[in-house]
Symmetry: C2
């Protein structure tokens, strides 16, 4: 085997053989294939694409580069959700305990945020005492005891993907559907879930800006999951505007607590319940308790408190708040018709909620509160946004980005919250 032959095959539009894929992933993980060779191959894959057989094998090779967790001996069936990431997407927070409260076990390995979308671990770390790093034994114990666990993926899971993702990030080769799909699915298959619901976001705040490419990504991932024996379903959901009314780490935990208490914004509740029902159905628990009931009757909140407690967190401790806040008032009265998710995400990031580089810290209290969502009425002079930050010097740039990110008074033309379902 020779890396150059493999690069040239893909560059010239050919299909890689299973042996070539196995070899190149393994040799890259071991350092025998150089970063520059893998970067050239990734760009050729971005250019030429991959067949379904190639994507399946590529995913499988990354999966086999490390350990695969196994929870088949648990008394409950496992089911999980993965979101491709959006602004204000705190769904994992109410969803995991709600589904646990309905009888499934949710083994959720999450990540940290980079750029304008936040990471679930960053959000949970704003809960005093909570820790993301668990040993496999701790993860299993919490999953068995509580029915849900959200933690950091250990370095032993899909190490090839870890190395490859870092490379793609600096070589302009992130935006390849086969590479995105195989990266997500190798990690999700490694975490050992028996069923999987994919929340593929579409719109300005999402990685996929249009429904066509989101649908292609969804189909690719659903194919990989089902080919690997994991019952997989994908929903395409709207990310033209932020989810909920709060964007930022502790701000989103607070909003998740509203949902767990039976309230919260309609879109967050609807998406939580819809994804929860899909997760239960995919796990074969069609007759289980409804997640909407679990949110209403306090059992989801009970599961949340036990989850937080099991990972060292204090569910009763006050959440951190930013030192400074700044209100932006509406310049006009009328209907808020659009509110650009990406711009809100960037503003929250500039206020300190996100990181520019992996090693940067995040500010738990920083972010943006939205006082209106598209379709709602606003009045001139009343608050439209509240900016939260520990560093007032960050306010002007964040405010500037928000000043042109919405429209007032033209007819509403939003994407439906649930755009499509791909099974």
């Amino acid at each position: 085997m020779d890396a150059i032959d493999i690069i040239v095959t893909k560059r010239d539009g050919g299909e890689l053989t299973p042996d070539q894929i196995d070899w190149v992933i393994d040799a890259y993980t071991r350092g025998e294939v150089a970063d520059e060779q893998m970067a050239a191959l990734n760009m050729a894959i971005l250019w030429r694409g991959m067949t379904r057989a190639e994507v399946a094998r590529w995913t499988d090779a990354m999966l086999r580069s490390g350990d695969r967790l196994d929870f088949t001996d648990l008394p409950r069936p496992t089911t999980d959700k993965h979101s491709t990431g959006g602004v204000g997407d705190k769904i994992t927070l109410p969803l995991t305990p709600a589904v646990a409260a309905c009888g499934a076990a949710v083994p959720q390995l999450s990540g940290r945020g980079l750029g304008h979308t936040g990471g679930t671990l960053d959000k949970l770390e704003s809960v005093p005492g909570w820790r993301a790093e668990l040993s496999p034994a701790e993860m299993r114990k919490i999953l068995a005891d509580v029915g849900g666990v959200v933690c950091a993926a250990g370095s032993g899971l899909a190490p090839a993907d870890r190395k490859l993702y870092a490379l793609r990030d600096v070589t302009g080769t992130v935006e390849s559907i086969p590479l995105i799909a195989s990266s997500i699915m190798s990690k999700k298959l490694a975490e050992g879930t028996g069923a999987l619901v994919l929340d593929v976001k579409v719109g300005s705040g999402a990685f996929m800006k249009d429904a066509g490419s989101a649908r292609e990504l969804a189909r690719t991932m659903v194919g990989i999951g089902n080919d690997n024996g994991v019952r997989t379903v994908a929903l395409l959901t709207a990310m033209d505007a932020p989810l909920g009314n709060r964007v930022g780490n502790a701000l989103e935990v607070a909003e998740a607590l509203e949902v767990l208490a039976g309230g919260g914004p309609d879109d967050v509740v609807e998406l939580t319940v819809t994804l929860g029902r899909e997760m239960l159905a995919a796990a074969g628990l069609e007759g289980a308790k409804d997640p909407a009931d679990a949110l209403r009757d306090g059992t989801a909140m009970d599961a949340w408190r036990r989850m937080i407690h099991a990972q060292g967190g204090d569910p009763d401790a006050p959440l951190p708040e930013a030192a400074e806040s700044h209100v932006i008032a509406s310049p006009a009265s009328g209907t808020l018709t659009t509110l650009d998710a990406h711009a809100v995400g960037v503003a929250a990031w500039r206020l300190g909620a996100g990181r520019a580089r992996k090693e940067d810290p995040v500010s738990p209290g920083a972010g943006v509160t939205l006082h209106a969502k598209p379709g709602e009425e606003v009045r001139e002079g009343e608050p439209l946004f509240t900016l939260h930050t520990d560093d007032p010097d960050r306010i002007p740039r964040a405010a500037e980005g928000l000043s042109t990110c919405y429209t007032i008074d033209t007819p509403v033309d939003r994407l439906p919250l649930i755009i499509d379902r791909i099974a």
Copy 2:
């Protein structure tokens, strides 16, 4: 400036700005842009191509990464030739002294061979005592005294290209016309020639297998040269069969000496004279002595002897010969209609004339003698090839490769030697 932005711009089909090109070449040379980023950019360039403005700037940035020689103070005008490489292509050897004998100065920086085509420096190093490495001062003195010099390019010329070429070699990104053209032209512009004739080879033994891509490469290079004030002309010439009758280092020097003595194979003489006339015309020496006369009257041979002597070589010393030889006889009588250049090049390489890796030595005496060329009559049982090697174990594989590389008796359908002229 940011390497990722530049990669993504090209990946998505955009045009790089002059500032982006200058920055990325400089930052890569300094090690600030990583190999994996440049590899991804090269694959994107291979995919998307480059505009004439981009290629010109890319070449210029590589040229500016190092020194540029200046021979404008010499009493003679400078002119040079570059060949894209072929099997049995020893044209530089008789051409440089012939053109020098006609009144121009030829500052030829050459390379070593890799793979199935030989390198001019490897050939000349089979002359006892001759050395390829000269200081810029030595190069200038020989050029002024003799009118021609063939030596290795110093590391100060186009260092960006040196680094980039090594990267392309291992990342499957060699086959990009803008990258090939800018690589060749940055080196040729750095050597300080005032005029340049490009010999772009077409056919199985050449890098460009078809006339269309060879013509595009030629046009790109002619554009770069003329845009940079170097009068540049390209000839597309045939490389379906080897040039001349000998392939291998000392074997080719011996054949060059036949040409310098007024004899030698017709194709080698024709190409030497044609390229020589173009070089003189490009240098503005239209009324100069004709290179054909210089070959006939011994003045080219005189220039050769002075060139070799000036670089420590003994023009009267016997050339090295391989320890073993092996004759392959013709299996039939008839007209030799085709003789595959690539296969002959590979056979010579297997016999020891070439190297597989940069650090390998070459065997000066190894190679192949051709007893017939396409269009000539052959007789069953008479010699078709003689194989020369220091290692008889290499003969079987070389002979095997030659056994299917020719055809006897079907109509002749060769490319004309000079296929096209692009000015």
